[in-house]
Symmetry: C2
DNA sequence: ATGAAAGCGCTAACAC
DNA sequence: GTGTTAGCGCTTTCAT
């Protein structure tokens, strides 16, 4: 631990200029006589002066920090988002104030309020009981969300869940599947639109969809739901899972139950988390562009902060990722 | 977006008291006549006053924020750390300023310096070219690191890598393996100690160890290294990987190469990431207590901030997790 | 128990 | 170009 950090005033005194001058120099707000410039440069690194960003923040009202709230940092879909956001933030000299809202006894709303005070804007991925959304609209700080929102006053970015689901269903139908099931998580905001996508596609082929639920949108949740789906008379020959985590859990349990995958049942996930590639059979899924979503969200945020009132929804296109967990029926 | 947030002064005026009084009330620094107390309480929530934490920070010099720097947010070992740290931080009304150092063109040192200015302390998990360590020692803010450090002036927490490695080796020897290999990542700070652990154990049984390297400590790295290990005359009958990610990649590629696991080769990883359970065969590994590490690191940090100069190394005990990727030779 | 006043370190508007 | 002067919103002695 070293001596007390020097302030702008220390520099001013040492260099025989005024604090204001030092400030302007440090921020490149103005040009200087090379005389002063040199003196300043020299003093600054002799003293090892570094601006105090906190003090700067109270003076300017800007923190150059973006708050990022996500549910579960263990879900690679979310870490993808954070990764993308982090990258863009760094490029623009912003930092990320992070909170995993799933981890707290406090309610989400409270957490967001706390976060909000320390940042210039909020990027939020949450279950969002809609009152949080109302709160965001009221907030003086800009927010960006994920998924298509009921109203467009809060900008958001999402991959088109309906289309993603439709694509998967189409793929499965093309593979001649007869009985398709969806293993969803009712607590998730995009559950319904995914069901619609699948349903619409199946309906256009004269097929129906059976829907099952997990209790948790995790691998463990998928494991626990498996037997309910597999150990019945007319079991499905394909199951579409709400996300990859669920799919992976489901596959493990199905195999433990003695089923052969994809021979006995085709399984597909959604998100395209990196691990999908490493399970057996490799998981067919649809890429929901997690990392890109984080990037775009941060770009939108920077836009808001720049005053562009560009609001609105940015739609990313999902992409089918065909691997080995699906196969043609006959 | 709503009206301007009210300040401590607005409250003071409305309630006919001085700003100082409001401050003391808000911070519970003092007791008040119930008269004033009620007036204050009423005005505060009528105005919806919330303290400005940034201004408070410049006045107090404390931010109630801890910086967390990790390399790769996609590695579940690291997200485990963040998760643990986040939980403890939240419990103590601290926030996490997060940066993924692997994501930036800027060097780590610079990133840390930036972070450092906005937080009360730093929790750092990094490749750390040791100059970063020197920097931390010099820094006026407390830091805590992961792993046993060359000197003890910076507190740190780690799972005993030597012991973890020893345990694994012992397990493999007990399973009658003849030719054991280590697939390491030389860039990692704990590579050497893990090698030592394995080596010492093997040596005590009169066995030797062959060491291979990956280029990246990721699943992809493991995949790429696989053929170098497997496609040789006297291939090993067991490989210990530097981490689970590598192990998972290795297994996938080995299977793609036509090998049967664990019949042809036993594979073991380190970390115990949640996914290890879901690959096939389920990965035998050793739990390095990621989440607990994050928690303990944060506790140590809080201790430092409380002035307890408790420094030193906290050692977590690794635990063998036996699954299906290893089997007895004969 | 309450108020007055002096900062915290920095920025920004204005003067010279 | 450079200096002066107010703040930013809050905390914290020190009086009263």
């Amino acid at each position: 631990m070293k001596k007390y950090p020097s302030t702008i005033r220390d520099v001013a005194v040492e260099a025989n200029v005024s604090p204001g001058t030092v400030s302007k120099f440090v921020n490149g707000t103005q040009r200087f006589s090379s005389e002063v410039e040199n003196r300043l440069r020299e003093t600054i690194d002799r003293l090892g002066y570094r601006p105090n960003v906190v003090a700067r923040s109270v003076a300017t009202g800007k923190t150059r920090t973006i708050g990022v709230a996500i549910l579960d940092i263990h879900n690679p879909h979310f870490t993808g988002i954070v990764k993308g956001a982090n990258r863009v933030a760094l490029q623009h000299d912003y930092s990320l104030l992070f909170v995993a809202t799933g981890e707290s006894q406090k309610n989400e709303r409270q957490l967001l309020e706390m976060l909000s005070r320390r940042v210039d804007g909020l990027i939020v991925s949450s279950r969002m009981p809609d009152d949080a959304l109302e709160w965001m609209r009221q907030s003086p700080k800009p927010s960006v969300c994920f998924g298509k929102l009921p109203d467009t006053s809060v900008p958001s970015v999402g991959a088109e869940g309906y289309r993603a689901a439709y694509l998967i269903a189409q793929h499965l139908v093309g593979l001649a599947h007869k009985r398709i099931a969806f293993l969803g998580f009712p607590g998730a905001r995009w559950n319904a639109e995914r069901i619609r996508g699948i349903h619409d596609c199946l309906a256009s082929h004269g097929k129906s969809l059976s829907v099952f639920d997990v209790e948790q949108p995790s691998a463990h949740g998928g494991e626990r739901a498996c037997s309910r789906i597999m150990l019945v008379a007319e079991r499905p020959d394909a199951v579409i899972c709400y996300n990859d985590l669920i799919a992976i859990g489901f596959m493990k349990e199905a195999q433990a139950l003695g089923f052969q995958l994809p021979k006995d049942i085709s399984v597909v996930g959604m998100d395209n988390i990196p691990f999908g590639e490493y399970v057996h059979p490799a998981l067919t899924t649809v890429d929901m562009q997690s990392e890109r979503m984080g990037e775009v969200a941060m770009f939108k945020m920077l836009d808001c902060l720049a005053g562009h009132t560009d609001k609105g929804f940015a739609m990313l296109q999902p992409e089918l990722v065909l691997r080995a967990s699906t196969m043609r029926r006959n």
